[in-house]
């Protein structure tokens, strides 16, 4: 479906800024595949290579068996693309944008209405409003409609949920699930770690390198270090003290608690509790907890930086 082999891309006059380094991944037909990583990790660059917008320095990539460099016209016909930045015409209305994009893909709204119906009914009340005057959530829905209107075989969504509120984000992922069930392959990127679990498979990317590729469930189950949720009356002090406990201990805020991640099997809840008691911490709560994608990501980042330096 999508296969990427040894893709490299650098920027800058001397090519001294590495955007992607030796990327390899395969997306299966009908998969909802997530590319998870922060801003500047190289997500947009990879999307632009796959949508034939830029050329890789080396390596090769195919989308539906079409080569991204040579066979770009074929790819442009069969993919739906939603760029990271809102790219519809702000001075055209919802209706005008949609029919414009339908026409340039040689189709009509009516022909593929069944595909966008669920989203379109939500947009309908504002169909004569200019796209620029829509809220973030509505813009995002319209952009998805425009990317879907020609019934693409692959959907490329570059950070579709960035800057969108929680409610709209939830709705958006529910829609993606439905399109996946309708047989469309979806390649989506996001900086939100909590969205990773909604994908079939994910690739974690940081500084142009793939850190890991796995099913979210496996990623968590295979995570070796122990993770403890710790809470005290003085969170900040406790965190700093735990951090200095051992080289192999990482402590960081995680919601209401802090997570203490350790590759040292001797560090039991009892040992942590004793350590905190000795330093006069009150209201201490310690429990073993399931790691999240964010814990895994941070652990991978730590290892990536220690191996490179």
């Amino acid at each position: 479906m999508i296969s990427i082999r040894n893709i490299n891309k650098t920027y800058g006059k001397k090519g001294d800024i590495t955007a992607l380094s030796n990327i390899n991944l395969e997306v299966e037909r009908g998969e909802l595949y997530g590319l998870i990583g922060p801003d500047g990790a190289g997500k947009t660059t990879l999307f632009r290579i796959l949508t034939t917008l830029i050329l890789p320095d080396s390596g090769s990539a195919q989308v539906m068996d079409y080569d991204v460099v040579v066979q770009y016209p074929q790819i442009r016909k069969i993919v739906g693309y939603m760029p990271g930045k809102f790219s519809l015409y702000q001075d055209l209305t919802v209706q005008e944008n949609l029919s414009f994009f339908a026409t340039i893909f040689n189709t009509t709204i009516r022909e593929n209405y069944h595909l966008i119906e669920d989203i379109y009914v939500q947009l309908e009340p504002f169909k004569n409003r200019r796209a620029g005057a829509l809220s973030g959530g509505m813009k995002q829905k319209l952009a998805l409609c425009c990317a879907l209107i020609h019934r693409p075989e692959v959907l490329f969504l570059d950070e579709p949920t960035t800057g969108v509120d929680v409610v709209s984000r939830k709705e958006f992922w529910e829609m993606l699930k439905r399109y996946k069930e309708a047989g469309i392959t979806i390649f989506v990127s996001t900086p939100y770690m909590d969205e990773a679990t909604l994908c079939d498979r994910i690739a974690l990317i940081q500084e142009g390198k793939i850190l890991d590729i796995a099913k979210p469930k496996d990623l968590i189950e295979d995570f070796q270090p122990g993770v403890f949720a710790v809470k005290t009356a003085e969170m900040n002090r406790a965190k700093n003290e735990l951090q200095s406990l051992d080289e192999n201990v990482e402590a960081y805020h995680f919601g209401e608690y802090m997570h203490v991640v350790t590759e040292n099997n001797h560090l039991t809840p009892k040992a942590i509790s004793d350590f905190l008691d000795k330093r006069g911490h009150q209201e201490v709560i310690i429990k073993r907890t399931t790691p999240t994608v964010e814990d895994v990501f941070m652990n991978l980042m730590k290892h990536a930086s220690t191996t490179t330096t």
């Binding site: 917008l53 830029i54 442009r76 519809l88 414009f100 026409t103 340039i104």
Partner: protein, 368 residues
């Protein structure tokens, strides 16, 4: 075809919804024509003239009557002493004094060369120069009638403008100039900015990842601006023929034909600029500083190219607007036909091909 129509429709929405820009585009030529026209005609009509006749014979009186009879001057007072001039200028009674020296008649009769002196408030040298030209013309006519049978070769330089503008109407010269300038703004500036805008706002990203061919994107941009340009030319021509009463001497179809070619030249230039830049500001700067300014400088309608230094004259050849100005001036003002403008048309076509060639070579089918 369906695609092209969708694109053109979209462009029309863009243009129509940007009310302010549209208003400026249509309003600017109207204001310019009105301003240039009325400002010039008010200046040269009924200029208050103070006459100091030191000759005071039959011939000088006839000459002064001749000046008075023209619609350009109003004689508001007579004097004898040149020393009065200063007082008259300061008092504001008149901005200009005409001194007819004591030897006027005899010089004209015997030497066939007489001097007149114009003393004028030179705050506005253009006005002074215009008035000077008028007096020169009147005195030439005067001499021709007076000396008709004794006509001798004379050495007065006659400005070209007067040959084709016997009524001495100043409006003539700038109408083609305003057309050239407006076309430059609409076709070069608006086209380049509108294409670059699509790049900057990310729309181009969406368009590239679609089966649309780049040619359609470009052509669909060009068509609405082409039509808009013709519309504005029509407004300018209509205004200048009705309000300013500047006749179109040549063939109107030829006029539109040549204008269409210049529009296409400008559109390809706009396209070229848009392929070379990625930001609206830079596109605007290049269009304004690199194109509009030279058009005004070297277009020939504000500053006569003939009086520029040689180097600048050579430089002016690379400004398409110069050739357009020459062609349109020939058709509109001089009433000449195809045979005298084909050279300019060929040059414009050459520019068009050059711009198109570079644009196609530089056109990105991907993001740069």
């Amino acid at each position: 075809m369906q695609q092209l129509i969708a694109f053109i429709k979209k462009e029309i929405y863009h243009i129509a919804r940007d009310r302010k820009t549209l208003l400026v585009l249509i309003g600017m030529p109207i204001v310019q024509i009105a301003l240039f026209g009325f400002a010039l005609s008010n200046e040269v009509k009924n200029t208050k003239l103070y006459v100091i006749d030191q000759n005071k014979d039959e011939m000088s009186v006839r000459f002064i009557e001749e000046v008075q009879a023209s619609q350009y001057f109003d004689v508001v007072g007579y004097g004898e002493d040149v020393g009065d001039v200063d007082r008259i200028l300061r008092s504001g009674v008149s901005q200009i004094s005409l001194v007819v020296p004591p030897s006027f008649s005899s010089d004209l009769r015997h030497v066939n060369q007489a001097n007149l002196q114009l003393i004028t408030d030179a705050i506005n040298p253009n006005v002074a120069a215009t008035i000077n030209a008028y007096i020169t013309a009147i005195s030439r006519d005067f001499r021709n009638t007076e000396m008709g049978d004794l006509k001798l070769p004379y050495t007065i330089n006659v400005e070209t403008r007067m040959m084709y503008n016997p009524q001495l109407k100043g409006e003539f010269a700038f109408v083609p100039g305003v057309i050239a300038m407006i076309l430059m703004i609409i076709c070069v500036l608006m086209t380049s900015v509108s294409i670059v805008k699509e790049k900057e706002l990310g729309n181009m990203e969406m368009l590239l990842v679609s089966p649309t061919s780049p040619a359609i994107v470009i052509i669909s941009k060009a068509i609405p601006y082409f039509v808009l340009s013709l519309l504005i030319i029509s407004i300018i021509l209509l205004m200048s023929t009705t309000i300013l009463q500047v006749p179109i001497r040549g063939n109107i179809f030829l006029l539109y034909g040549v204008s269409s070619i210049f529009i296409i030249t400008s559109l390809t230039l706009g396209l070229l600029i848009s392929t070379l830049t990625n930001s609206q500001e830079i596109a605007m700067l290049i269009s304004l500083m690199g194109m509009l300014l030279p058009t005004i400088m070297f277009g020939g309608f504000m500053f006569p190219i003939e009086s520029m230094p040689k180097a600048l004259q050579i430089m002016s050849n690379i400004i398409p607007a110069k050739w357009f100005y020459y062609a349109i001036n020939d058709i509109m003002i001089k009433g000449l036909g195809w045979s005298s403008v084909y050279r300019e048309v060929l040059i414009l076509l050459g520019f068009t091909l050059l711009y198109m060639g570079i644009s196609l070579k530089k056109y990105e089918i991907r993001l740069s």
